[in-house]
Amino acid sequence: METGRVRSDSFEVDHRQVQTLFSRDRHIIAEMLSRIVVGVKRLDVDRPVLGLVISLASETGGEVHVVHVRQQRCSKGGPSYDETMEDASRVVEQAVFELRMAGIGTNGKVTSTLEGRVARSIMEQADLFAADVIVVGCRKHHGLHRLFGNSDRDTLVRLSSVPVLLAPVESSQRPTDGAGELAGPRDLAP
């Protein structure tokens, strides 16, 4: 592996273009990163994600919008959700509480969508909130999930119109249900 310092002899930069760019971008820089959407799946797993969001938002005095997506599954007995509305609301309420306790202006929402459309649901919320960045947890995958990746996460990265921050969560706290999803709580602590 070759390493080295920046060489000044190969600068070939149009300085006028650079100056124009930065004079135009100053207002963007001041405004960016002040509105954060965070996708929360399980609070016990995604607590490091909230920690990351707290430090991002506290630096800019930004606002946070917590999103939790309920997934509708179609089975023999008809469509069913992977969790009750009560469980989903509890996740959002707890996340909002923790963020507000850290002094961050926060609101939250539970949305419901078809299985496999979690990323689109988060993007819709990000658009409605006019988010500057989307934060989601990323987990290590094993077996076939490792081979095929996380379709929801990949969709989010591919289609999002704002930067996506993938925050690692502890591998020991990997969800045992439906790895590769972005939302959906289980076994919540009271």
Binding site: G4, Q17, P48, S55, L166, P168
Partner: protein, 160 residues
């Protein structure tokens, strides 16, 4: 950052294409907002099918790095540059090694040049990177709102 501590070092891995423009804006934003030090990294890919011949020259690899460092410094962000060599299938490992050696707190990736089909056939870089890296990864999408329509940075010195 948060549970990871305050971010102070951001590793910005560039692809060298015009799409790095958007990622550079995000790097500038992060650098100015969070007062982080940015290391611009370019991985020179070696193609093992051709006896590890490198796809670009050292000078071509340095040109976008220098440009990004210049722009970051113009915006008041502490920036440095680095070019490393790696086999074409070991780019994620090279980024991880640099992140570990430099003590990065987060990694910023541009959108990459792969098409939708390319992303299906081969796992995207951020996916491979998150398997081996325990750091936040910021991925700048292809269709970012604020960056569209910006002029492309000068590409590698291909003109005589």
């Amino acid at each position: 950052m948060g549970a990871y501590g305050v971010v102070s070092r951001l590793l910005f891995a560039i692809d060298g294409g015009a799409l790095d423009r958007d990622a550079l804006e995000v790097a500038v934003t992060f650098g100015t907002t969070y007062r982080v030090e940015v290391r611009v990294l370019r991985v020179r890919k070696g193609d093992c099918a051709h006896g590890y011949r490198y796809i670009e020259t050292n000078e071509e690899a340095w040109t976008p790095v220098n440009y990004a460092v210049f722009e970051l410094r113009m915006a008041g962000v502490g920036a440095s540059g680095q070019v490393v060599r790696a086999p074409v299938d070991q780019v994620a490992q090279a980024i991880e090694q640099v992140a570990r050696a430099w003590g990065a707190d987060a990694v910023l990736l541009g959108p990459g040049r792969r098409s939708r089909l390319g992303r299906i056939l081969a796992r995207p870089l951020e996916s491979r990177l998150e398997e081996i890296l325990r750091l936040p990864i910021i991925v700048v999408p292809r269709s970012i709102r604020s960056g569209s329509g910006e002029p492309a940075p000068p590409t590698a010195a291909r003109t005589p």
